[in-house]
Amino acid sequence: MSDVEDFRARARAWLAEQATTYGKEARRGLSVEDDLALGRRYMAARHDAGFAGINWAVEIGGQGLTNLHKVAFEGEEMAWGMPVVYFGISLGMPVPILIHYGQDRDWVKERVRKALRGEEIWCQLFSEPSGGSDLAALRTKAEQDGNGWKLNGQKVWTSWAQYCDYGVIVARNDPNVAKHKGLTYFWVDMKAPGVEVRPIKLAGGDSHVNEVFFDDVKMTDEQRMGAVGGGFGVALHTLMIERYIATDSAGFGPHLDLFIDLAREIEVNEKPALEDGRIRSAIARNYAMRSGLEAITARAMKMMEAGMQPGPEGSLQKLVAVRSRQRLSELAIDLQGNAGFASDPHAFVKESWTASWLNAPTGRIAGGSDEVLLNTIAEKILGLPQDHRPDKGVPFNQIPA
């Protein structure tokens, strides 16, 4: 048994012990606030047990293990439905960037520890109302203000901002240069005067994303991460930093087994659904897609284990899985006929076809829309030309709105 498999076994044993306290059944019916509180306790326990910051350096408070150990733990953890969703972005992007770019190292170490223990949460303030898929089009201004900076503007789609203590932000420090050149990266105190967070209710009824308004928010120059004007590069680094995350061939929706279980109870035109060619085809095709994605992940793990860089095909996971989840969820609802009208608006997405279907469109947009992912595959992997970009090289304040 390899070191990773040994680690995986230890993780599984520990997780099994925690499940009754923190797992899916313990969480059922909790309000978001209570679930978050439970999540903070779980994070503390996870930190105590030595499963936090798995692939981070020991000096900074991590376990000093490999990406492979981290992915193995996450893969195991996912099966239990632990309340970790509030901390995923925090530990996934802002905190690693803070580790890399933060100026006051003692302060950074304290933040890392608190973030790992769920005592503090970080958000990532990138998107803006006018920006969409176009990160470099952002308008939030950071102006020199004495020795520090003054922040004004608006961000949007900021996950869990209403519960966050800190955030990382990209702002425009110079509108007179080409649009991706006039940006600078900072961390910002979410409790500072002038920061206002307004939750956005989404189509599924939940409000885990927010608008965040900055009105003359003061920052010291110590809050700057990276060079003045170097924000776009740091932002790209952020997007690259966590390439090794556990994937889910179900597209973060229900497992195919749940579909089969459902179909087993159902008739199509008064015959068992599982005998119907259309249902059989849906099951078989879905399995083939999922097994392919899982084989891609398994190969990536083997490559990491062998010290190699996994191939770019890993970038297919979200694109393929979430799109497919949307269709399968629709099908599961339709299959049930009039019985499919009933649904619990607060059901878990991985258990309820209705919740999965209602939230699938968000999945196809958040963290890189289908179209952005296709463009990335086409340009970065296949070398196809970039789309027409009339804004290229034009000073930001001269691009027509």
């Binding site: 189509a203 008739e267 199509v268 949307q326 006929g337 009039n338 469109p361 027509p400």
Partner: protein, 364 residues
């Protein structure tokens, strides 16, 4: 019946659209999503005022005496604004069932009240996953109706129901008063549709039709409701296409209108194709009311309209990006309605099999 709308029909189209748009209110619709057991009273009042409730009911029974074509036109307008409750469809379906009856007393009692909108009707045909089971489990005997009908649209608010039941081993359509019937209102993703489980226990009922007559009538009524629903779906799909198009010429990314990107542009063009095919099928089906090929035409309309609305819902949201998935923007009103309409009157499997059966003579 021509498939080319005449001037009167065109006037109904523009007027119904104008009225529905003027009286629809997104905030009200959004609030209804989170309220179990309520519906849009303002819409129903409008439908009554405009005479839509009696549109396709003969003048002799207090209706306006127009046809499925005109009802379809109004349904399309309603669909465009995700307006209303399912009653427009179900009341007309109940009226169609009664008109197929030989019981003149029953007609005289209920048709005028359906035409005026004073009474709301539900059609309780389906059981399990079948919208029209060949041998329903609900029984009708001298003791009345007994058994359960799950997830009946409009049932939460209906005064009467037309029930598909088995009476002495023969199929029957039975009209019953719901006043004393146990209703379990369903909480779901599109609450204003008034879904409820109905449990009959010694519920008194009056026979509309029995035997082969009942079977043929029930199938025709279901097909008729499917055609009305298909019009509603086309109206919804068309509204989404217009929203998507308007957004695509307004919103800019990377320095240009997003509609200049072929992934957006071609997607909207494909929507247009699906919608025009569905629209043509809908008008054709409405014009074939009472003809031998009505079932085929209804199935074609139903299949293409469902595909159009589902695709438009998926793609319109996707084109909008983040703003498309917010509660307030309300595109999910269409997304939810696309799903509820895809299931009401029978899912795609039912209609595919029915149409394939008609075309091949081979049962599923």
């Amino acid at each position: 019946m021509s498939i080319l709308y005449d001037e009167g029909q065109q006037a109904i189209a523009s007027e119904s659209r104008r009225v529905v748009e003027a009286r629809s209110d997104k905030a009200r619709a959004l609030a209804l999503l989170e309220t179990v057991g309520a519906y849009d009273h303002a819409f129903w009042q409008t439908a009554i005022e405009q005479g839509w409730t009696g549109l396709a009911i003969p003048e002799a029974f207090g209706g306006i005496g127009l046809s499925l074509v005109e009802l379809g036109i109004v349904a399309q307008a309603c669909g465009g604004s995700t307006a209303g409750a399912p009653f427009l469809t179900s009341n007309d379906g109940a009226a169609a069932a009664l008109l197929g009856s030989e019981n003149e007393e029953l007609k005289a009692e209920w048709l005028p009240r359906l035409a005026s909108g004073e009474v709301i009707a539900a059609l309780a045909f389906g059981e399990g996953q079948s919208p029209l089971p060949s041998r329903p489990l609900v029984r009708f005997t001298a003791a009345g109706l007994a058994g359960e009908k799950p997830g009946v649209p409009a049932a939460a608010h209906a005064r009467i129901a037309v029930v598909w039941a088995l009476a002495e081993g023969e199929p029957a359509l039975v009209l019953c008063d719901l006043t004393d019937v146990s209703k379990s209102v369903i909480e779901g993703f599109d609450n204003s549709r008034g879904y409820a489980d109905l449990t009959f226990a010694a519920t008194p009922g009056q026979v509309i039709a029995t035997g082969a007559h009942a079977s043929a009538l029930a199938r025709d009524v279901l097909a008729r409701m499917a055609v009305v629903t298909a019009h509603e779906q086309v109206g919804g799909a068309e509204a989404l296409m217009t929203i998507a198009r308007d957004y695509a010429v307004t919103r800019k990314a990377f320095g240009q209108q997003i509609g200049a990107f072929q992934s957006v542009k071609h997607r909207i063009a494909e929507m247009y194709g699906l919608i025009e095919i569905a629209r043509a099928n809908c008008i054709h089906a409405a014009s074939r009311e009472g003809q031998a090929d009505f079932l085929k035409a209804a199935a074609a309309a139903r299949l293409s309209a469902t595909e159009a609305y589902d695709t438009a819902a998926r793609d319109c949201v996707q084109i909008h990006g983040g703003i498309g998935v917010t509660w307030e923007t309300g595109l999910h009103l269409h997304m939810r309605r696309a799903r509820s309409l895809a299931v009401e009157q029978g899912n795609m499997f039912f209609w595919e099999d029915l149409l394939a059966g008609q075309l091949t003579g081979v049962a599923a």
